[in-house]
């Protein structure tokens, strides 16, 4: 499942790591990835879905040079049929962006956000109050010491 790596985090990572000239070139590629995501995801799901799609493309292409069988299958599984030209454009753009960074930097970007995501895990039921109370024996009358005189039916000898 996709981590909480967001499109904004990728953009910030690029801004923080590169000089202005490099940034201009990379911004163009970021726009290309976003555009490809729009084609693949569709506009009806809104900007948030498009950005999530762009993150997905970035993650699967950041170590690839071309769109292989596995990548095609992965995109299809998540989004259904898609234009291959968009996948190719996203792959090329991601490849160009990746060339500005070392493998370690990219891995750190992805793993760091995944780790942060782990840290933010919500404990299921954290706010649920669970009672420790349990069914107990009901109160009842004590054991009669001398038999059952009161509850026993009186026997009539009057035939």
């Amino acid at each position: 499942m996709s981590s909480e790596l967001t499109w904004k985090k990728i953009v910030k990572f690029v801004e923080d790591s590169l000089n202005k000239k490099e940034q201009q070139s990379v911004n163009e590629d970021l726009r290309t990835i976003l555009q490809a995501a729009k084609q693949i995801v569709g506009t009806e799901n809104g900007q948030e879905a498009i950005e999530s799609g762009a993150v997905f493309l970035f993650k699967i292409f950041h170590t690839k040079e071309c769109v292989g069988h596995d990548e095609t299958k992965a995109i299809k599984q998540v989004f259904g049929p898609f234009p291959s030209s968009s996948a190719t454009a996203a792959c090329n753009a991601t490849c160009r962006i990746a060339s500005f960074f070392t493998e370690e930097q990219l891995t750190t970007l992805i793993q760091k956000t995944e780790r942060q995501n782990d840290d933010k895990r919500v404990f299921f039921g954290k706010n649920i109050v669970v009672s420790f109370d349990m069914h107990d024996l009901d109160h009842s009358e004590d054991l009669p010491i001398n038999g059952e005189a009161k509850t026993q039916k009186t026997i009539s000898l009057d035939y």
């Binding site: 499942m1 996709s2 995801v41 799901n45 879905a49 999530s52 799609g53 997905f56 699967i60 292989g68 596995d70 990548e71 299958k73 992965a74 599984q77 998540v78 989004f79 895990r121 919500v122 404990f123 299921f124 039921g125 649920i128 669970v130 009672s131 420790f132 109370d133 349990m134 069914h135 107990d136 024996l137 009901d138 109160h139 009842s140 009358e141 004590d142 054991l143 009669p144 010491i145 038999g147 059952e148 009161k150 509850t151 039916k153 009186t154």
Partner: protein
């Protein structure tokens, strides 16, 4: 990104063996973490430091593992639940062996109580999560698939549900009700299973009758053959055997009551097997016999006898309450809620059930004491103008007749507080 249910979700990840990207279902055995859940054992009955230490270590281990499980993301949690057999065995062991308050003295050292509380909470939350098909807008399982997953993987079954009710029903009734209703709603096979379980419960009644030498089938009507083993009744059986029967009795009725209290929708299924009549008849045969057997042993272990008496009184109350839950769910509640044209069916059911138990005089008295039959009949009279007065009068008369020669108590027997010592 479009949000898919967990059962349709595919994950793309790097294959650790080949280094290539691969796509696998989110619910896949390979996604299960390596974790070995240990079996639960109850706290030691004696305060032996080594045994207490052993219990604490084991219980903490389980509690930590369950807390780890509860902190897992939705997909990982379900992979663990589905593919980790040790987890299911661990949960089962807790349901079977966790001390019931009515079953044993819970006079444990404070540290044992503390860890037991943590564990109790974690187990409940685990079952709660397992019975939830929609955790959030993004994290959910297709309801129909969820029902299949629960059933096919034996995550819940009727005995487990009974145990859950008796362990958690007291303070967590409303949550537990939602859980169980959701399980039965998403998987109707649980109703079929319940339907198949009721004969087993009725068999438990027969077993008790047999143990008490009170077998009520046709066989008991035939004279005993000379070479046959003499039937042992509760009055002359060893005290230990009597104790076993009463404990079993108490456990059975408390569990059944806890289940029906939490999930009254099960009542219809119970009544398909004529449960009300069977209950009343079983009550009539066993309760006086067991009471008498306890009273007549005054010279034996008095504290044990007092404890058995208390359990039997408790069981009596639970049996009467179970009958009332059934009557209420099957007849009274629908009468209160129904439109005029349906009311007759429920009234007829009420009249039939009561007519069938009229010969069980002791049961009738005890039921009437706790839930006056005249109140219910009065409800029927208010609900229907065409009520057959002859039949209701017959029932009321039979109840009155059951009281003949017996002093009515001012306060309900089974609900009364014990007199001051």
């Amino acid at each position: 990104m479009p949000v898919l249910p967990l059962d349709e979700l595919q994950l793309t990840e790097t294959d650790p063996k080949t280094g290539k990207l691969r796509t696998i279902p989110a619910l896949h055995p390979e996604m299960k973490a390596d974790r070995s859940f240990v079996l639960y054992k109850p706290p030691p009955k004696v305060r032996e430091p080594a045994l207490v230490e052993e219990f604490l270590e084991r219980a903490k281990f389980i509690a930590d593992d369950l807390n780890w499980l509860l902190a897992l993301p939705h997909d990982k949690f379900w992979c663990q639940v589905l593919f980790d057999e040790t987890l299911q065995k661990c949960l089962d062991s807790y349901l079977c062996h966790a001390p019931r308050k009515f079953d044993a003295s819970l006079d444990f050292p404070p540290e044992v109580n503390d860890v037991q509380k943590c564990l109790h909470r974690s187990v409940f939350l685990t079952f709660l999560r397992m019975s939830t098909h929609k955790e959030s807008k993004e994290h959910f399982i297709t309801p129909a698939v969820f029902g299949e997953i629960l059933y096919n993987n034996f995550l819940f079954d009727i005995p487990k549900i009974l145990d859950l009710c008796v362990l958690f029903g007291k303070g967590n009734g409303s949550l537990l009700q939602k859980m169980i209703e959701n399980i039965f709603t998403q998987q109707s096979s649980y109703f079929s299973d319940l339907n198949e379980t009721v004969p087993t419960i009725l068999q438990v009644f027969n077993n008790i009758l047999q143990e008490c030498g009170l077998q009520c089938d046709g066989a008991s009507a035939t004279p005993q053959k000379l070479e046959e083993r003499v039937r042992v009744t509760p009055r002359d059986m060893p005290l230990q055997a009597l104790k076993d029967i009463v404990l079993y009795f108490c456990d059975t009725w408390t569990t059944l009551w806890a289940f029906l209290d939490v999930f009254p929708l099960a009542c219809q299924t119970f009544q398909k097997h004529d449960f009300c009549y069977r209950l009343a008849s079983f009550y009539e045969l066993t309760i006086p016999e067991l009471e008498s057997a306890i009273k007549k042993r005054a010279s034996e272990d008095n504290s044990l006898l007092a404890d058995l008496w208390r359990r039997l009184s408790h069981s009596r109350k639970k049996m009467v309450e179970v009958f009332h839950i059934l009557i209420n769910q099957i007849c009274l509640q629908p009468i209160l809620e129904s439109s005029c044209e349906n009311i007759q069916l429920f009234i007829e059911e009420f009249l039939q059930i009561f007519t069938s138990v009229l010969q069980e005089r002791r049961f009738l008295r005890d039921y009437d004491e706790l839930f006056p039959v005249t109140d219910d009949v009065s409800l029927l009279q208010q609900a229907s103008s065409t009520l057959d007065d002859t039949r209701t009068a017959y029932i009321i008369q039979a109840v009155e007749s059951a009281w003949e020669g017996v002093e009515r108590r001012k306060t309900p027997v089974v609900g009364s507080l014990p007199p001051p010592m």
